[in-house]
Each structure stands twice: as C-alpha cells, then as structure tokens.
Amino acid sequence: MPKARVYITLKPTLLDAQGRTLQNALHQLGFETVQNVRVGKYLEIELAADGDPHAQIEAMCQQLLANPVIEQYRYEVVEE
C-alpha cells in the first residue's frame, strides 16, 4: 500500500512567527548554534494501490493541503 509523507512549510520569504519564537527559546536554553527555525506540518497519507499516487498527492496539495499564497510543499511516496 503506498504511503505519502507530505511536508508543508511557510514560504522562505515569509516571517515564521512560531519559528522565530522557538529560535529565541532555544538560544535561551543555551543552544547558541541555532541559526534559523522554520515550523511546518507533516502529514502521512495512506492510499489505495490503484492510480498514480504522485499525481493524487500533487492534486491534494494544490487543492487543499497547502495554501499556495503562503506555503510550499514537498512529499515522498513509499511502499509499505
């Protein structure tokens, strides 16, 4: 059964308020090597075996999972 792992993040040009806050918190904890933090979403989607999983996931990302105005996405499909 194909399984897709989808990663959605804010576009690099946009300020990630959560990421910046985490970066500050990590600095306060002493992790001074942290240069940048971006927070995103991770989705696991299990698919039936028929059809092209890449095409389906691409369509899902475009129509619902990501907002193209603010987000970018990537995904991988694995067989389990």
Partner: protein, 229 residues
Amino acid sequence: MKAAVVVFPGSNCDRDAYHALRDVLGYEVDYVWHAQPRLNGYDLVVLPGGFSYGDYLRPGAIARFAPIMEAVRDYAERGGLVIGICNGFQILCEAGLLPGALTRNIGLKFICKHVYVRVENNATPFTRLFRKGEVLRLPIAHGDGRYVCDEATLRQMEARGQIVLRYCAPDGSLSEAWNPNGSQEAIAGVANPTFNVLGLMPHPERACESLLGSRDGRRLLLAAWVNRA
C-alpha cells in the same frame, strides 16, 4: 433589506452578527446553514467570525469547500455584497474571493482588544458613509490575523484601492506600534477588484451599540441600505 448570516460548524459570532443586523440596523435576517447549496433573495451576505471546523489545517481551509461557498461565489460574481469578518475573512481568502492570506499573529498571542483602523478607500459600498482617512475604533479577537500577500498583488491592490482599512494610531498615523498582529502594510481589511466583497479582521458587528464601547461598526454594516439609496 434582507441579510444572510452563514453558519458553519464552529462559527461563534453568528449571533452577534444576527443581533447587530436585525435589532440595531433593521435588516430582516436569516441564518443560512453551511450545507445549503443556495442563496436567494439577499441584499447582504455575512460570513461571521469563529473557528469553522476548529481551524483544522488552516483557518478557513475546510469551510471553503462547504456547499454554501459555491452559492457565495455565484452571488459575489453577480455583484452581491459579501462581508467576511475575522474567520469569514480567512474563509474568503482561502476561497480565492479575496487576495492574500492570514497567518499567525506576529507575537503568537490571541489578541482580544479594541484597535484603531483608518478608512483608506471610502468609495466602496461598505465605506461610503465614512470620510477618507476617518479613524474607527473596532474590537479584534484573533490568533491568525497577520495579513500577507506577494509584492505584485500588494502593488496591484494599492493601485486599485483594494486596501480598505489599515491599523493605525488614534490620530490616524501609521506605525508598527499600532499594528497589533504584524500585518503587511498594516492591512486590516481588503476588497475584491469590484469592491462588492470585503474582508476584515476587526468585528464591526460588535461595535454597533454604545453599551459595547463603540458604534463605529454600524456604518460598515449598513452597506446594503447605502447601496440601494
């Protein structure tokens, strides 16, 4: 004058809108459930605030696919007046009826307080009763209100006058100190290119009676009356 207040699962300002429109402003008002496929005979459609579908995925991302949204799209394309308040604004952006998107507030906090906004364009059906540059005091209550859009869209909106409201100081000046959520260019409300669809983060329906601290929201919501006159 007849207004529709669309109710999604998780809407929580639908009653505020109903009360302001009917009891204060004299509209005949219907609640319209999100599963309805039609919107007929209305002079104004309001998408109220709240947390439709629990803000799952992104605020407004799921509500955008509700059956009523096709009807809202048709209604807007025919020139009907649509106002999206707070979560309603988020839904209109997700649906592509308004440009841009609303992201997490810059300080990450949910902000609930009165703010000042300046009328940037008073030639829209929603703002004809205001002077250009007039400062309104309206409440906000949101966690995801930081408006963003790309530079090309921003320039186009500026040129067309689609930026309708900006957060400002009480004297009307712009400064980041008075931009509560970090919105790009302090944008608080935008319209579509034909100005019959308006989205804003502040709540005009909660600013219609002196008892609630401000009456500045009245004139925005009188749009349908103004449009007919």
